[in-house]
């Protein structure tokens, strides 16, 4: 046996457990998912092959477009909110001063909690009779009567977006902080020699240097927006009147709900898969660039 061949055997032996599990619980499900999406199936009886009929139906499905629209709005709101706020806080938090560790800890805290816990907490914060939000707003005289934040179509999605921003801003802030701290000090020194003001340093050095990391933050939060499930399932379950239904809650209802339309459910999942794949691709390109830089 040559050394090279022996190495190959060793390598595969070491990889075996990881590859086996990966095959059974990741790769095969993906292939299987596509296979099911070509069938009409309730999950119990016979699978009936129908080709691309599910996909054709999906393209004509108003509920699908509505869910997709909610995902897009969710992405728009959360990406914008998280990135802007995170950048602002990171800029404020940069540098050494008393309390810096305290603030960083506090901002990051929601990121370690589960969306189920956060969803329950905020569902009650938004509650018009027991919740603190309306109580405070009324107390301060900003509104006269409590608002049904989650109970009306006009505010439900926005309220969910806000909770998402609340949870993840600290996380994106830390990414920005890492970016700020990796900017070379001599850039600032040179600018100081030239007599640049703090504002000029911010706009001509810091922000341009943060472009890649900002893009990364945007891509990560966009991905999160299309994957959103837990928080919506817990807080509104897609309601009221489907106003917060997104692709994953729609998929869940089609598959595990009353309609038991497994074939169609996988078609929705596959459509989402294509979207995530596109975002993943951007993400990999951005972090590649990040590593080269």
């Amino acid at each position: 046996m040559t050394r090279k061949l022996r190495n190959t055997w060793t390598a595969y032996l070491l990889l075996f457990p990881a590859l086996l599990l990966f095959l059974v619980f990741v790769l095969i499900p993906f292939a299987y998912e596509f296979w099911i999406s070509l069938h009409h199936w309730d999950g119990f009886g016979e699978m009936k092959y129908i080709g691309i009929d599910n996909y054709v139906a999906l393209l004509k499905d108003e509920q699908f477009y509505l869910a997709l629209k909610h995902n897009l709005l969710y992405a728009l709101g959360t990406v914008f909110g998280k990135v802007v706020l995170a950048l602002l806080i990171a800029l404020l938090l940069n540098g050494a001063f008393r309390g810096v560790v305290f603030f960083r800890t506090v901002f990051f805290m929601p990121a370690v909690m589960s969306f189920v816990a956060i969803g329950i907490l905020w569902q009650w914060i938004y509650n018009p009779s027991f919740g603190m939000l309306d109580a405070i707003l009324v107390q301060l005289g900003i509104i006269k009567t409590p608002i049904q934040w989650l109970g009306q179509t006009s505010t439900a999605l926005l309220s969910l977006i806000f909770v998402d921003i609340w949870r993840w801003t600290g996380y994106h802030m830390v990414l920005f902080l890492a970016g700020i701290q990796s900017i070379q000090k001599n850039l600032y020194e040179a600018a100081e020699v030239d007599g640049a003001s703090a504002m000029q340093k911010l706009f001509h050095i810091t922000l341009p240097q943060l472009k890649t990391i900002a893009l990364l933050n945007i891509v990560i939060s966009a991905m999160g927006a299309f994957n959103v499930f837990d928080i919506i399932y817990v807080m509104t379950d897609g309601g009221p009147y489907n106003s917060t239904n997104v692709l994953l809650t729609y998929m869940y209802k089609q598959t595990f709900g009353a309609s038991n339309n497994v074939g169609y459910g996988t078609t929705i999942a596959f459509a989402l898969f294509l979207i995530i794949l596109a975002i993943t691709f951007v993400q990999l390109r951005v972090s590649e660039r990040d590593q080269r830089a």
Binding site: N7, L14, F22, Y32, F97, L121, Q139, M251, V262, I276
Partner: protein, 269 residues
């Protein structure tokens, strides 16, 4: 000064809801209705906690979650280390292909393959078993862990292994005695990243576990909410506090590791 003021205002938007959660968990309904905005209860109802603990079977669901998390993490550490060692330190046929396979799937969320996963688990009789969570969690956690770990292992100088191998160490000794002790920081990152994901996971648990005895924390909470959230939300909040405290406490203790774990997962991912 302005900076501290702004930061304080921002941190208040985080702290106030969390303290409110703590406050509600110690109140009764009357207090709640009278002063919904307040944090400090008029009377501290510690019994909310003991009742939530027994009625909601929090202990059991915490135990289940802890079991699933610990076992999954153990397997991920071992499998990820072995696989990453092969991918980072050995030249072999198919290396590039396997690495590409892992990298291209590492960012895909579990939710996308929920349906086929459920079918496969059903045929493997893993539905309503904690192993039905553990095995997919390992499999889905592996790609990103391997990606991070491979990058980490590549950064260890190859001369170390070469000189040890000249001294007569075989491959097994290299893996176990030379590289493993050096890999601790990398593995710590993997553990923190996966701990967060597994401890908080919800969608897969939702479809795999039906048996109340096997519920994980997230399932127990969402179930509470449906069952007696409406009338007994003070106890619901007590449950919320009990299940959230361990993660927050862990985070405060291992702050540095948590933050670097989560960010390197993102930055290198």
């Amino acid at each position: 000064m302005l900076r501290i003021l702004l930061l304080s205002v921002f941190s208040l938007t985080i702290l106030y809801p969390l303290l409110w959660m703590l406050g509600v968990s110690l109140k009764d309904q009357k207090d709640m209705f009278a002063r919904p905005w307040s944090i400090v209860p008029q009377e501290f109802l510690w019994t909310n906690f003991s009742k939530a603990w027994t009625v909601g079977k929090i202990g059991q669901s915490m135990g289940n979650t802890a079991f699933v998390t610990v076992v999954t993490l153990l397997f991920i550490v071992v499998f990820c280390y072995l696989a990453s060692y092969a991918l980072a330190r050995i030249e072999f046929r198919g290396r590039k292909l396997i690495l590409t396979l892992f990298i291209s799937t590492m960012l895909l969320p579990i939710q996308i393959i929920l349906i086929p996963l459920y079918r496969i688990q059903k045929s493997l009789h893993l539905i309503d078993s904690l192993w039905g969570l553990i095995l997919p969690y390992i499999a889905i956690g592996l790609p990103i862990s391997i990606f991070l770990m491979t990058a980490f292992l590549r950064s260890v100088p190859f001369e170390l292994e070469e000189s040890a191998s000249i001294d007569g160490a075989n491959r097994l000794q290299l893996i176990y005695k030379i590289m493993l002790p050096l890999s601790r920081p990398g593995l710590a990152t993997v553990v923190i990243l996966q701990f967060m994901t597994i401890w908080n996971e919800f969608p897969l648990a939702l479809i795999v576990i039906n048996n109340p005895e096997l519920r994980t924390i997230t399932l127990a909470l969402s179930n509470f909410k449906g069952l007696w959230g409406m009338m007994d939300f003070n106890k619901l909040f007590a449950a919320l506090v009990i299940t959230t405290l361990p993660v927050i406490a862990m985070f405060i203790i291992f702050q540095r590791q948590f933050i670097s774990g989560l960010t390197s997962g993102a930055l290198k991912g």
